[in-house]
Amino acid sequence: MDIATHLFSALYQFGDAFAFLVLSACGLAVIFGMMGVINLAHGEFIMCGAYVTAATVHAGLPLPLGILAGTLVSALVGVLVELAVIRHLYDRPLDTIVATWGLSLIATQGTLIMVGSTMAGVGTPFGSFQVGDYSYSIYRIVLFCSALGVLAALYALFNWTRFGVLARATIQVPHMAAALGVDTRLIYSLTFACGAGLAGLAGGLYAPTMTLVPTMGATFIMEAFVTVVIGGADVFLGTAPAGGLLAIVKSGMTSWQGQLFGQIGLLVAVIIVVRVLPKGISGFVLRERT
């Protein structure tokens, strides 16, 4: 086998791990980074997105529209959760952990009771392609591009739009933003909805490739939290480089020693990074800058 084949396979594995880490972490990073809320129901927003996507595809919608529906429904659920629960706990950050954990238990068990123990899958589109001896799934490339797209879209949203400016102002000095006439409650709601929607998007994108069960969110949770912990509070300076770094660790370790070592590698990387950079990669970059 020639070098090009090896190089492509390494790149593909990196891209695949990167996409999974970034897509599962983005929603969590927005909610944690912008609002300081640690959302333990993150996995259940992902599950919600996946279920709505699968249900709408079963009802006859094409997959892209199904994913859009999954994203929107998750965002809508996010608004409701923010209004009903999170809003009242902004000055009690530790309590939001308990509250969102409770929500996650209710969501998992509620789905099990109402929808049943499994849902039929929708099948992965696009087929496969061949490079050297290996064949690859085209949809995995789509996932990688989606991850890049999500990062680009978030960058544009928070830097180039009026909502982005208001959101950042609200996050930096809430009472000053409020004094200048910004409806901070609305901004918080929308930001939370944005994070929930991103989780739903991750669920929708991965729905065709996975088992659809009420506990499916749990398989995203470790990767999501590891990425956010390493990345720190900033989505762009944190999540993206953290995703890159962890993807190298994970795909390298997995191809060397198998899945177990891939997971061990991830956790060791977290311990090292948290020890050396307590505020994550973005905290380090921002401190260097000032």
């Binding site: 695949d16 899958g121 001896d133 290996y134 995995r140 191809s255």
Partner: protein, 417 residues
Amino acid sequence: MSKSVLRGLRAAALTGTLVLGSSIGSQIALAAENPIKMGVLEDQSGDFAAATIGKVHAIQLAAEEINKAGGIMGRPLELVPYDTQSDNTRYQEFMRRVLQRDKVDVVFAGFSSASREAYRPIVDQFNGFAFYNNQYEGGVCDGHMIVTGAVPEQQFSTLIPYMMEKYGKNVYTLAADYNFGQISAEWVRKIVKENGGKMAGEEFIPLGVSQFSQSIQNIQKAKPDFVVTLLVGTAQASYYEQAASANVNLPMASSVNVGQGYEHKRFKPPSLKDMYVTTNYIEEIDSPKSKEFYAKFKAKFPSEPYVNQEAENSYLAVYLYKQMVERAKSTKREDIRKVIAMGDVCMDAPEGKVCIDPKSQHMSHTIYLAKVGADHSISFPKTWEDIKPYWLGEAGCDLTKKDPMAQYTPSNPPPKP
């Protein structure tokens, strides 16, 4: 408040008391009948729920039928169910509870081998009596346990030689990384070697992993003739969809898929194409007994997604228990084991005739080779009747003489006397 309303309330309160009184009365009547209590510890939520809710339903169905027909020795069968949440510590908690507080006569418990090994010492400690109604990696030689599920000598020594003959001798194992996967992989290794084949590779996947791109590439690199998939839990089942979309296109062999997690119903065709499974029951089995069982199951639980192997194991286990208690005229473990020692505890189960082997307290089975087609329809290229759970007995486990309360594997057989 007007007088009439008050009067109404008083009447209601009075009726309430009456209803309460009568229900107490019926409870006393029930207590007089002295029910046989059966603890049911199965995962009704969590990662394994998809495969195990059917077990609880099967036990409920059997109990209802038995109670309608007059119970066991005239005593009603009372179920004491707990949801073990796919969590090993819950098993330990609830096993202590059913044995110590609820004082059940027998416990039906466990899906994953990790959960069984978590609760088994507690059953031994409190001198309980438990049924493990699940296929597993084999080797449990414990007088407190009866295993109604199939074991490797029933599932692998039929399946692996068939696959090697049909597809070739290079075998790759992809297994869940815990006692079940590790010991099953050891069995596969042993049987492949005995049949002159070679392991092209092996990989163990931690439970809960759902992303398989790298494993898929490792398999393609090793170029096996077929892949033995011993993946457990719903997260790991994502492998099939991902392998199909990467066009791996290799035949698969398994002792756990289809028969437990009905993956051929859950995933879109053709992701499970050319999957071969040895199982002692699935709902597609086309025999009058099987059809009758399936019809009864669906009549009671119309929304049941699939009637799987473990549901049948659980169902027949209730009837086996009834037979043993009635023959022993007692629910005591020692008396029941005397009946087992006679070697003729058999019944006509939905799968065919099954018998309990007195040496290992495991069960003989009819083993069906199920093949999943491109459209996910099931065909049965081969059936093996009356395959005995011989390995433990041949290796030296004899529960009629000695109860070591241990689990053995091919590399760790019972000590020679």
